[in-house]
Amino acid sequence: MKKTLFDKVWDAHVVEQVDGGPNALYIDRHFIHEVTSPVAFGGLEKRGLKVFRPEKTTATPDHNIPTINQHLPIADQLSQNQVDTLTANCEKHGINLYGLNHKWNGIVHVIGPELGLTTPGMTIVCGDSHTSTHGAFGAIAFGIGTSEVEMVLASQCILQPKPKKMLITVNGDLKPGVTSKDIVLYIISKISTSGGTGHFIEFAGDTIEKLSMEARMTICNMSIECGARGGMIAPDETTFEYVKDREFSPQGEEWDKAVAYWKTLKTDEGAVFDTEYHYDAADIEPMITYGTNPGMGMKVTETVPTGEELKGNDKVSFDKSLDYMGLEGGKAIEGKAIDYVFVGSCTNGRIEDLRSFAQFVKGKKKAEDVVAWIVPGSKQVEKQAIEEGLVTILEEAGFVMRQPGCSACLAMNDDKVPAGKYAVSTSNRNFEGRQGPGARTMLASPLVAAAAAITGKITDPRDLL
């Protein structure tokens, strides 16, 4: 049987094919955070169970923490309570926790790879849908619900039916100013937010192979925005290079053994996928979203679609979406004035993202009316940004870097975009109210965000390169 990358990793983790039911899948790595874990621990307690394999779970508070003054108690009582509950649960069950101000604290999907907790061939879950990020390493990684968090705590396994397989290839050279965020926004705009439903995606092709690990993570991160369970990329030298010598990555002899295995993790010639899509890198340009789901994306240089080909309910929701965004079909989006810029999240809050943003704004000045939140994805990213002098560049251009956390990605803390205001955001969701009630989110790459922060308007970053 010819196998895909996905088959190889999945099959290696099936503990039991349940009769007439799903697979019991073994989980190598479980990440938890303050928001979706308390009820799961509560359930465990009621059953009188211990955590089955505490060493395989790692915890970090990230979702609702403030991004300033992290040394002070959290002003919001409910947030503080969730963080305290996480701390207490971890202490009680012997789970590694990287709490606020710990040098390894950060957004769960940023710290996993950073610490070498994420390696090729693993199965990884977390009570957060963007767990798909870790698929960039050739791991099967997906988000789970609270009752499933309880399953993993109780048994290190999860009951899952095997999804269908999808292959998406991108080949050719990317144009200057085009990043991996543009690739994934382009793909979602083509296949829509439901195009991947029921599938696990493998991204391949020479364009993908040439990407850095950070860039690959951005693509896998957003794979779930097209409805897929997750996305993955076959591990290669770029992957091994990234994983090597990290805090928890295998060392010495273990390392050699691991790499030998990881090298087998690729789709066999002739293996069959249920669905395939193929794209040409030359067709991709800097992208931005104009609507209220990530599938509503367009080239920065295009005019906003009119949706005239749509019918019935589809047209109604399209119009409703443009109305919410205060945009008009048929008009250019370039030149549209914006109010906020958010650079951060598990999509684009890594060091490479801060580098590209800083490089772009170097020697320029932030537009006066724009409020910019530059939020590193983790303490380590923050430290590196300081050491590399990025923070100085940012400050000279009129930006301040905040402290790590999910921040305006889901606006559970105080980083909320006010109603009616426009935000160019490097995060992953532009749903109504995602960045605050009434907030108008436009998803884009760090470069497009940088151009907007400098000019105060939607701008093709290539005009300023």
């Binding site: 503990v15 039991e16 349940v18 009769d19 007439g20 039911g21 799903p22 019991a24 073994y26 009820v39 359930g43 009621k46 059953r47 169970l49 089955f52 009752s147 309880e150 399953m151 109780a154 048994s155 290190q156 396994c157 999860i158 009951l159």
Partner: protein
């Protein structure tokens, strides 16, 4: 929480011959704020059961003393709407153990099974027979046997063989949910880890 073991039951049934009973009717959204799974039975079909002044609406089946039992018989497409697990909780907490319909919404069916509530899907003709029997005599009983996968109208002896996923059948019979199932596999899981 672990679920109760499903035992063979013989009880009268409560008829709700309405199609597309959706989860918003089963448990209105305003009752979802609770953090614990408690008291949902009181709010089952809240807006059909009580008027704005919180007085029982006498016509509604749950308010009619002639109807009783652990079986709820609903019309086609029962449980459509949202994925709220609260819908299954409220039916269960009210005291029902079986819901009968000629078609169930997918997510509701899964949620019911995960919470010890047995969804029995029967043919449209058989469903009519059941409704007719209750109308004729509300005290007449029905027997549900999960091992045999049969639903019997005791008065007439008419029987229907229903389908159920074999894994879920075992879970219900043993009072397991997915977590109990996985915990019961600890040895197997440990053996897997050894490989």
């Amino acid at each position: 929480m672990p679920i109760d073991k499903f035992k063979k039951i013989q009880t009268p049934a409560v008829p709700l011959p309405i199609e597309n009973v959706d989860t918003d009717q089963i448990i209105p959204a305003r009752f979802l704020k609770a953090v614990e799974r408690k008291g949902f039975g009181d709010n089952l079909f809240r807006d059909w059961r009580y008027n704005k002044k919180d007085e029982p609406i006498v016509d509604f089946v749950l308010n009619q003393s002639k109807f009783s039992g652990q079986i709820l018989v609903g019309g086609k497409n029962f449980g459509s709407g949202s994925s709220r697990e609260h819908a299954a909780w409220s039916i269960y907490d009210y005291g029902f153990r079986v819901v009968v319909s000629s078609f169930f919404a997918d997510i509701f069916k899964g949620n019911a099974l995960n919470n010890g509530l047995l969804p029995v899907q029967v043919s449209e003709e058989f469903l009519e027979e059941v409704f007719a029997q209750i109308e004729k005599d509300p005290t007449s009983t029905f027997s549900v046997d999960l091992v045999e996968q049969t639903f019997v109208i005791d008065a007439t002896g008419s029987s229907f063989s229903f389908e159920i996923n074999s894994y879920k059948k075992q879970c219900l019979l043993n009072g397991y949910d997915d977590i109990d199932f996985l915990v019961s596999r600890h040895e197997k899981i440990a053996a897997y880890e050894e490989q």
